[in-house]
Symmetry: C2
Subunit: 375 residues, 2 copies
């Protein structure tokens, strides 16, 4: 195991790269997909099965964990890795995004954001320093600066002021992190600036001046659409340091990931595979299907007979259909598992294609098989 | 694998026995606990984990499966074993008990029982012959005669008429079974007669005249209480054929099982471990606890650190508490698994104790540790 956080690019193909992030808790093969363990659990999944799909790292949500069971309680119980029985790397977000999307009566100031819990109405304050303190209590290997994440569309001036606030918070986050961090932990800065090229450049320059071991692209996948998201990446990633991992937050569907990898992104997280799985949607080599559809009631074929994943291989579509119709736990369990396997198999395919210099062919095959446009 | 259904008692200790039921799909070590897979799934469990707990056989519910996905559909898909990815023995009930407890507008006649589905109001008729047909379509290794299962208390005359109806249905079930059964499948008769000694004796005599490879004790665990249930067993099991397995239907809590094993029962089924698990109750060596209780919020100990079961060993009570408070799937998943492991470990302990002729000491230890009365 590495003593320090590091990143090495092993191969690239056009703008895409493949490499390894080394941490004291294990290596993360990039491009990497991080399953989301919102409240200390990747929903409906056993951690050993998350690992079996090929996941090297999972994500925890600071907002959820600070409210319940609280960061202090997790710390007293030995940290988030022990708490959720996941010994490998964990990335935590700053909590800011979910404060803005989930909490009540929130108020944003220069200092931070005050809000009321969506669970019990209790009052809380999240500042850059408090977010870092919480992420440290959780013991996250990769931590995120607090930022503000405005929706798109937004006026240029408002986007600029928001981005500059995020940049000031980036510095405060870094200062707090340097006081609290344990060896091998890393803090990432977050590039903001909505869909304005000049603001994304300014944001990145401000962050690079502070200097982070990794940079995220934030403020995307907020309703702007795939084409616009890719346009922003195209004028952002080429300026990001080549030797640092690049993380596109909250993205995405398989076609989003394929397109973003081609545009130089190394890390992803998204609730899509598990959330969709809980609602009966399964990704397959031929695209997404809804297993609740009546046409699957008599389908004897598994989702992927050639897979090593039990969820994909050992149960017929007819059985999965039945489980969802009957409201059985096992339906969401199996489809979450299958979808996470689909995602990790996709990431492994992307890594192998980049290594072999055949990413274009891989993407062409993905488009042809799924009918998805990666633009 | 055995070609035929057989039962061998290997050791006994007082009224208790331990042995093996052999079937073409595998052996069933007795005393056996059968997890309930109501709608073709042991709720919130993967079948490989059901097996890992030590289960040799699971139960399927004819009532649920005939309504959804239907027995004909399951048969077209290759039978219930393949459908639910459980290659080992399956026992199905007749459907009668759940028709009486779950369906609407039911009407009982000599021929059988007509009812409306609780799912969609569709009309159905369950006769002894139809029940056997359904169980055959499902491919159950052990099938049950259709019976009527009255509540206790009941008047003697009503109990006698009901029992005699069940006895007539037993003969019709046997005749239907003999036409449809595959090699190695077995049909059990069900002793009725409420809590009347003379009626239980008469029921048993009528069934033994028909001759079954196994006999169930039905009509208990219907609200009569543990003491009364044991009293009925005490005047029933001593007259049951020593060379045939004895199955106490729908029982029960751990103390019920321990007491019934001491009174000569070989097989059990109950939703208690999985249903309780879904609601936050966990059985432990020291009795049952409710993991949702606030006192577990900071408890770093797992439910059973010495267990081989991941659910019992790898997660703190504090984490399980958190999962239930947060409404996460993983809470019911882990507690169902833990409770099934608890039950199977209890059964293994009972088998070993009977083999060693130390059942009394085992029961004394169980009582002392759990505070449960097995009477």
């Amino acid at each position: 195991m590495a003593d320090e956080f590091s990143f090495a690019v092993n191969a690239s193909d056009g703008g895409a790269r493949t490499g390894v992030i080394a941490t004291p808790r294990g290596e993360i093969r990039t491009p990497a997909f991080m399953p989301v363990g919102t409240a200390g659990t990747v929903k409906a999944m056993l951690p050993e099965h998350v690992r079996a799909t090929g996941a090297d790292i999972v994500l925890g949500n600071t907002y959820h964990l600070m409210l319940r069971p609280t960061a202090e309680r997790v710390a007293a119980l030995g940290g988030l890795h022990k708490f959720m029985n996941w010994p490998r790397p964990i990335l935590t977000d700053s909590g800011g995004f979910q404060v803005m999307s989930l909490s009540k009566l929130r108020k944003l100031t220069e200092d931070g954001v005050s809000f009321q819990s969506h669970i019990d109405g209790s009052k809380h304050m999240l500042t850059p320093e408090r977010s870092i303190e919480i992420q440290g209590l959780l013991g996250a290997d990769i931590q995120m600066q607090l930022d503000e994440c405005p929706a798109i569309p937004i006026e240029h001036e408002a986007a600029r002021e928001s981005m500059r606030l995020s940049a000031r918070w980036a510095l405060r986050s870094k200062n707090a992190f340097e006081k609290l961090a344990k060896p091998g932990q890393a803090l990432f800065g977050i590039v903001q600036g909505a869909n304005f090229e000049d603001l994304r450049r300014e944001s990145l320059e401000r962050l690079m001046e502070i200097d982070f071991p990794g940079y995220s692209v934030g403020g995307l996948a907020v309703g702007e659409g795939r084409e616009e998201m890719f346009r922003v990446l195209e004028f952002t990633t080429p300026h990001m340091p080549i030797e640092k991992p690049r993380y596109l937050m909250g993205v995405g569907k398989p076609a989003d990931i394929v397109g973003a990898v081609a545009r130089g992104i190394d890390m992803f997280d998204c609730v899509a595979p598990t959330r969709s799985g809980r609602h009966g949607q399964a990704w397959t080599g031929a695209g997404a299907i809804n297993i609740k559809n009546a046409k699957f009631a008599d389908d004897p074929e598994p989702l992927d007979p050639a897979s090593d994943c039990p969820a994909s291989r050992d149960y017929s579509k007819a059985y999965l259909h039945h489980l969802f119709r009957a409201g059985e736990y096992l339906g969401p369990m199996l489809l979450s598992w299958h979808n996470l396997q689909y995602y990790q198999t996709l990431m492994a395919g992307l890594r192998a294609a980049i290594s072999a210099g055949r990413l274009a062919a891989f993407i062409a095959g993905f488009k042809a098989a799924t009918g998805e446009e990666t633009l």
